[in-house]
Amino acid sequence: MGRTVARFFSYLFVISAAIIAIFPIFALILASFKPMTELLQYGLNLKLQPDKLTLDNYISIFTGGGNYLLWYKNSLIVLLIATPISLLLSSMVGYGIAIYQFKGRNLIFLLVILILVIPIEILLLPLYRLISRMKLMNTYAGLILPFLVSPFAVFFFRQYVVGIPDSLVDAARIDGCTEYRIFFQIMSPVMLPAYGAMAVLLAMNNWNSFIWPLIVMQSNARFTLPVGIVSLNSPYSTNYKLMISGSALTVIPIIIIFFFFQKYFIAGLTSGSIKG
């Protein structure tokens, strides 16, 4: 009897937590299909009147969305350029530290840990000055370059490669593979799960990153999605239509991808919430 009651309250608690977790996302997506007059009056809620649902807000993205589509393009470009390069470089470094005994190895690993502990955010101002002196303000390069090699991903790849038996590399060397071929053709396939987890983590960081794009991308047409969406909320005239449908449109693709690649999302996002 006591057990049943305990179980009932466990379910009640966990289900409530799940509902509270998804309610805001659900309310946002629902609101993006509602007429704006209702949103202005009630904010987000779960009221559903099927006959009033409309695509109006999404249509307005294309007719009166300002630079929204440009922001989307900017975010996609940053995502598609930065993530693969980041993965390649970070895995190379992690692999190098894990596989080879060489002078300076311990120092390099120590520096990786150092950057992991020290938040890059305290360097925003000198980085800002450096990037503007390099004439890279408002450019993708200025946005991407400082964070191209992710110390967290380096650390993660290093740990992963250390766990792979040496015999694999030794055998490849006896077969006459060059050091680089060993990395690209023999070891990279073995590191695939690590690539999966880090791909998700780095892609999410790129897609959601905020403070650095806010500093570097200062002209409206160069904004990334998060910077653009925040800019919509001005005290003078807030474009609610665009803010709601625009926000929903940044989340929906990720949620769809999430349900297909759950395993990698969980591996990536729990590999450390430390920003890469």
């Binding site: 305990a6 466990s10 608690f13 966990v14 937590a17 509270i20 977790a21 998804i22 805001p24 996302i25 946002l28 609101a31 949103l39 009056q41 009630y42 904010g43 809620n45 470089l89 470094v93 692999y95 190098g96 596989i99 080879y100 390099i108 520096l111 840990i113 950057i115 502990v117 020290i118 938040p119 890059i120 955010e121 305290i122 360097l123 925003l124 101002l125 000198p126 450096l130 370059l145 090699v149 050091e179 680089y180 999410m204 897609w207 959601n208 905020f210 403070i211 806010l214 998060p226 969406i229 925040v230 909320n233 940044t250 999430f258 969980i266 996002l269 729990t270 450390g272 919430s273 430390i274």
Partner: protein, 297 residues
């Protein structure tokens, strides 16, 4: 030519090629900016010229505004860490030991907010916690005869919004950390406790919590570090200028002084104070719990 290709792919040179990307970015985007921010913190910087002013910037920091930024940051860190450790532990234990049906979907739903950006979370929270009487939260409060709140206008409710936003996004991630930790607890421990007739609070306090200690250390460390450098959870509600600075954080102060007002010297000094705070926390952690608690992961 052939010789240089051979040297390039030799075991002696290869490690340096592999690690070069890190070394280069470390020097350009970490070492140099670190040195430059230390120098700037002793300078007054106006466009085109920089003048050394000794500790002037650090003296300016001893004012009410920066104090407010520090106290907001510390309060936020305290509450977000406290809730983001206790709530996920509770959830992970319940999901792991008590829930049998719909375990996976429930886990996924609780995790889902982690894929939503803080910015979009802010858009949603601003609407849910709107100031109209008809806004979602106020309409719920009115059912309990509580007057409608202007959430973003008061210090207490403003802090509540920021903490709630962080808790909403990170509870699921931390829950999964703890669930991974629970997998490592051998079942025999619970079985022998059962034989001794232990009840569940006893088992929780004497088996579960001690076994989770490395994970708790890890989660506390990442949460404290994230809390001290908090910026977005505030910016999404007030865009950098909150009434009476109720939402001002240390990083918000650095952004405002350095980027909005162009006072790179003062901003740098504030950044170094933040660095000191984070280093102190890290050293304490390192001293008592080993290297970041990470080797245990």
């Amino acid at each position: 030519m052939r010789k240089s290709v051979q040297l390039f792919s030799s075991k002696k040179v290869a490690p340096y090629v592999f690690t070069a990307p890190f070394v280069i970015t470390f020097i350009v985007f970490f070492l140099y900016p670190t040195i430059s921010t230390i120098i700037m913190s002793f300078q007054r910087i106006v466009p085109g010229e920089a003048k050394f002013v000794g500790f002037e910037n650090y003296r300016i920091l001893f004012d009410k505004t920066f104090y407010k930024a520090v106290s907001n940051t510390v309060v936020f860190t305290f509450w977000s860490v406290f809730i983001l450790v206790t709530l996920p532990i509770l959830l992970s234990v319940l999901v792991n030991y008590s829930i049998t049906k719909f375990k996976n979907p429930l886990k996924m739903f609780i995790f889902l907010p982690a894929v939503v950006s803080t910015v979009v979370g802010g858009v949603i929270f601003r609407q849910i916690f709107g100031e109209l009487d008809t806004s979602f939260m106020n309409s719920i409060l009115s059912k309990f005869s509580i007057p409608p709140q202007q959430w973003t206008m008061k210090s207490s409710t403003g802090m509540l919004l920021m903490v709630l936003l962080a808790v909403w996004r990170w509870t699921g991630v931390n829950m999964l950390y703890f669930m991974a930790g629970l997998q490592n607890i051998p079942n025999e421990l619970y079985e022998s406790a059962d034989i001794d007739g232990a009840n569940w609070p006893h088992k929780f306090l004497h088996i579960t919590l001690p076994s989770l200690q490395p994970v708790i250390v890890f989660v506390v460390l990442i949460s404290v570090s994230a809390g001290l450098k908090m910026f977005e959870e505030s910016y999404v509600f007030w865009q950098g200028s909150s009434p009476m600075n109720i939402g001002l954080t240390i990083l918000g102060y650095i952004y405002r002084e350095g980027i909005s007002f162009g006072n790179l010297g003062l901003g740098s000094a504030a950044g170094l104070i933040l660095l000191m705070m984070i280093l102190i926390v890290s050293v304490i952690q390192l001293k008592y719990f080993g290297l970041l608690g990470k080797e245990e992961q």
